[in-house]
Amino acid sequence: MGVIGNLIAGFSQALALDNLLFALIGVALGSLVGVLPGIGPLGAMSLLLCTTFGMTPLHALIFFAGIYYGSMYGGSTTSILLNVPGESTSVVTCIDGYQMCQKGRAGAALFIAAAGSFVAGTLSVLGLMLFAPLLADFALKFGPPEYFSLTSVGLAVLTYISSGSKAKALLMVLVGMMISMIGMDPVTGNQRFTLGFLPLSQGIDFVPVAMGLFGISEVLNIVTSSSSQVRIRRVALRELLPSRTEISRSVGPVVRGSFLGFFIGLVPGPAAVISSFSSYALEKRLSKRSSEFGHGAVEGVAGPEAANNAAAGSAFLPLMALGIPFAPPMALILAAMIIGGILPGPTFIQENPDLFWTFIASMYIGNVMLVLLNLPLVGLFVSVLRTPAQILLPVVAILCLIGVYAVNSSSVDVWVLVFSGVLGYVLRARGYDLAPLVLAIVLGPKVETYFRQSLSISGGDYSIFVTRPISLTIALLPLAIALGWWLFHGAFKFSRGEEHGRET
């Protein structure tokens, strides 16, 4: 039986009422936790793991997978409407999504994000279906030195995507990395910068920092701005839908984001985050309107949102083909499968073909459900903006406070949120870009861990980073692109200059 036959068999099972129901509950819950800032798919799945007792492994798998990829759909909603990233993967969406919202294009941004998520999600399941065993071995070729190259190149890209001064962006990356060092040393377990305060030894989580820097600081910004009389806008139906140019400008970014996200998603660790801002950087580089980035460019929403959904799909690949979860949400899906009575491993697909193909089919169905669920909600979400500021702002602040506390039930996180809010307000007033700071907190510990592991493996020999082909390629890639661009552009400008010279 070939792929088509397997898939038809899978669909016939996935369309059974019970499987449809679990997929629906999963994606609906996923959308919800994606929209709510603070609580993410990880928290939701940890809470719901006990409900998988007595479920068949297939039900548990469909249910939990639905929560995970469903949350990727909703993550951008609060980024666009309120400048509060729902998940780390949607930090980048804040940059242009919120700007679009300010210009009255919130509906269009939400629509593009949902449609782009659908396309990327579907393409990614297609990739998972066709290449699962093949790409699993490719993913294993990445070891600590490769992870190090990837994450540190990611940090370099971060400074590039920021809109303002590069020096300020670099400073933000460094501050973010310093904050990420607070807590227990990942290797030796020593306390660093905790000042003897035990709760700090678990480190500073990015969730309260991100919500403070973006959400609370935005609230402070509006409250203190001279035009505090925020007008209530009527949103016309016409504004809910993207214009023809917005759609045509989004097609390229969505397709590129899907491929980028799918491949980066194969790498363990913060793959979905790296994929979203890599896509942003790529689009900014390719766009003829790169000056619009940071001021509401639709490409800056379409690309990253497609990329993080594609990464969410390909994250299933190592789990299905190797039995190893590369990301924490995958570990929870593994847990649900074990509780259901199945331990996935390298032979999982051969041993359970019906399970695998039904799961694949249910992911196609789940993506359709998500787009049907999310598009009609765009109007509802946008109507949030019609709420008067004196009601909306306190609600946003309370939502941030509760959301942050809900993640770890830690009061320290609440203080971090408040402090970051004030810090974000000051930094923004001084023209610092905040996305690099937040993402450096996510990537900082990874860069450090991979660096130290690599050096342990090589016995302290630094050449390990450049003697391994994949690591070297990743490290050279941005250099090569920058150089190529410079040569191409330089030549182009030169020839144009010559023409000008001839004309005058």
Partner: protein, 333 residues
């Protein structure tokens, strides 16, 4: 003067009153324990091997009503398990806050980290399972058995990389035990948990790996990983062909990887007994037997009376091992 007299009179009366009331109340509290749901703190991430077994046990006890109220698992991961453990052990010793912990946070970390607890400032209630720890390599590696592997390591001292789930994890301590007993030198690579360790082994980024048996079950049956030896006194039933290192004539102490339910010091004995009995019933169910078989663990019941000396012995041996490699070991009161 009169006023202060009245105050002290009232004070004395209150103290007496509270004393007379407190004793029966405490007894009553123990007698009808538990009167509300019990929180079991899980200091490892959701989805970790220890996390899954905690949820499985809590699920069995709650579903079969071995206790009148449910046990809720609350995740507080971080610091390789020591943060959640520390926080829960500082809670009230009333039996409503427990910790489901593993070897490293309660027996190894207090020796090397500044923590507000040690194995002596907690009450072990029950040991729920044990896992064999094993030394494995990739299936295409040149070493067919542990003798060949040790021979290679002897000729290349300090070059053979062996991964573990982290510095001062039980796997790290196990490797130290092997190095001490055999006199060999390996290069220890600490990963950020057991899964990255197995991933690195599969990808060939390290030569060998210290894991618990369940971590590689599926990789072994798929022919990707070969188990060389068990680092315990006896062979494990899951890999009967892999010898125990002790069989080769090396004196490896044969330590343990276990899951233990613990409570803060001062928890009344009656409460400890109630909890112990409920957990023991859960360990005897067929659901639990199925579960531990699936994850490649072994039954490991030890009751609250027998646990303290076992923990004491392990900590003493580990402290000696760490001191031998030059780690500054903290004194445990």
């Amino acid at each position: 003067m009169r006023r202060s007299n009245t105050v002290s009179m009232v004070g004395a009366f209150l103290i007496l009153l509270s004393l007379t009331l407190a004793v029966p109340m405490a007894q009553a509290a123990e007698k009808d324990y538990p009167r509300k749901p019990i929180t079991m703190v899980m200091p490892f991430p959701a989805g970790s091997a220890t996390g899954i077994s905690a949820q499985q046990l809590a699920g069995i006890i709650t579903q079969k009503k071995f206790l009148p109220h449910p046990i809720q698992v609350v995740f507080k991961p971080g610091g390789a398990g020591s943060i959640g453990t520390a926080e829960a052990l500082q809670g009230k010793p009333d039996g409503y806050t427990l910790v489901y912990s593993a070897t490293a946070p309660i027996l190894i970390h207090p020796l090397v980290k500044d923590l507000p607890y040690s194995h002596r400032s907690l009450i072990p209630i029950i040991q729920t399972l044990r896992s064999s720890w094993i030394l494995s390599v990739r299936n295409d590696s040149p070493w067919k058995n542990v003798q060949e592997f040790f021979e290679y390591a002897k000729q290349h001292p300090g070059e053979v990389t062996v991964g573990s789930a982290g510095d001062y994890s039980w796997g790290h301590v196990g490797l130290l035990q092997i190095m001490k007993a055999t006199g060999l030198k390996f290069r220890h690579i600490p990963f950020e948990g057991s899964q990255p360790n197995v991933t690195a082994l599969l990808g060939g980024h390290i030569r060998a790996s210290m894991t618990i048996s369940g971590d590689v079950t599926k990789q072994v049956s798929a022919g990707k990983v070969r188990v060389l030896a068990t680092v315990e006194a006896e062979r494990t039933p899951y890999y009967p062909d892999a010898p125990a290192i002790r069989e080769l004539g090396y004196d490896v102490a044969g330590t343990m990887f276990t899951n233990i339910v613990i409570a803060p010091k001062g928890t009344p004995e009656a409460v400890v007994v109630t909890l112990h009995d409920a957990f023991k019933k859960a360990l005897e169910t067929p659901e639990w037997a199925d579960f531990i078989k699936k994850v490649g663990a072994s039954p490991g019941y030890i009751g609250y009376r027998d646990l303290p000396p076992i923990l004491e012995k392990y900590v003493k041996e580990t402290a000696a091992l760490l001191e031998a490699i030059g780690v500054k070991v903290r004194k445990i009161e």
